[in-house]
Symmetry: C2
Subunit: 206 residues, 2 copies
DNA sequence: TTCACACCTTCGACCGTTCGGTCGGTATAA
DNA sequence: TTATACCGACCGAACGGTCGAAGGTGTGAA
């Protein structure tokens, strides 16, 4: 990580290999936890030797940063586009559904990354290093709360406590990192729609 | 932990002190993660010296076991009583509310323990040592799913996917370990009722 | 009521191991 | 021939855990 190659032809190969390595790290971090993972674990998971590994990750904590930043950056970007971009649905219900789908798709494609994020959240809250990741998370939550509040203002929704409703949906989706299996009974969109339907209409009969 | 005192008069003092020590450990584990916590951290948090600490905890991993077992055992016991005991509400809606309240109260009184549980869940799934804790968790989830299924059978509820609805509520409540503050805007029962209302009636207007 | 002794609590120096990280080197490919 | 990829021996620090000793404390025999 200290030295990405200057020659452009090699740059791509380096980037690809680095992503492979970081994905492998994310897998191990998700399984054993960041602090529970030793460098030797990462060596076993990547197939590299000690020196080769450090060539790509710089340090253990730098690897963690990249894993979380590569997760939250794109998520926030896509979420913003889906909710506030030119193609964003006009209704609050539509935007809520779009946001949740983007989010669940990120869980589907970055399951390990999300699991690591959930595991390390409390530590993330403290240290200044994580300000960017923290800021992205906060921005995402604001996006969600804003949809709910607009929905209430427009008369589309009747939410007793938007803050609590947002935390409820946040909990549902983030928790999926623990049980969602790509290729399982439900795919990402089905889970997203299921959650949104639950939140919109509830389960009481009649 | 190797040697609880034989004399009953001293046994109580030992137990009380042990709980103090374990609560302090739980606080640090919740903050820094189990693997991220060193024995020196626990020494600082308890005020004991190395030897004194080991007198009460046996080992770091034994402390973790006690923290999680003391969390899940009582939770399952109270939940079962609230839902299947003689005073259990007759309706599925009532039982759902009772279960969620018991659960949120446990989060309120054992916030650190719950946070540790959430952080270590993935590790817990693997090793055989954790079978009891894992079994308690599974039993709790069964309790919840059963309420939903009975509600459907009795015509009280209309749940498209009881499994998903259970996972949704599980996510909401477990996630509270990250943001719930005792003495904050909402108390445990208010959060529980808020979640259940959300799940029952949804937020769509009309 | 006293006192000696066994039990209990706490201490901190110490141990072997494992940790994250470095660095000088070799192989390879542009 | 030079920039890059990868290796593995090595390092100091920090880790979890042990242990013999010292000091208190409740208790039964005198």
């Amino acid at each position: 990580m200290a030295d990405p190659p200057k020659r452009p032809a090699l740059r791509k190969r380096y980037d690809d290999r680095q992503r492979e390595v970081l994905d492998a790290c994310a897998r191990v971090f998700a399984e054993r936890g960041y602090h529970g993972t030793s460098i030797d674990d990462l060596i076993a998971a990547t197939g590299l030797a000690r020196g080769g590994l450090y060539h790509y990750i710089g340090s253990k904590s730098e690897a963690l940063f990249r894993i979380l930043d590569d997760l939250m950056g794109p998520l926030l970007e896509r979420a913003t586009a889906a909710v506030e971009g030119p193609d964003a649905p006009p209704s609050a219900v539509g935007r809520l559904r779009a946001l949740t789908r983007v989010w669940m798709r990120q869980v589907e494609s970055h399951r390990d990354h999300v699991a690591v994020f959930e595991q390390e959240r409390r530590t993330l809250e403290a240290e200044p290093v994580w300000e960017r990741v923290r800021g992205d998370r906060r921005a995402f939550e604001v996006l969600l709360v804003r949809i709910l509040e607009q929905g209430v203002r427009d008369g589309e929704l009747a939410v007793a406590d938007p803050q609590l409703a947002a935390l409820a949906l946040l909990g549902m989706v983030n928790h999926t990192a623990l049980w969602f299996v790509p290729g399982g009974r439900l795919d990402a969109d089905e889970v997203a729609d299921g959650f949104v339907d639950l939140l919109l209409d509830g389960v009481r009969r009649g």
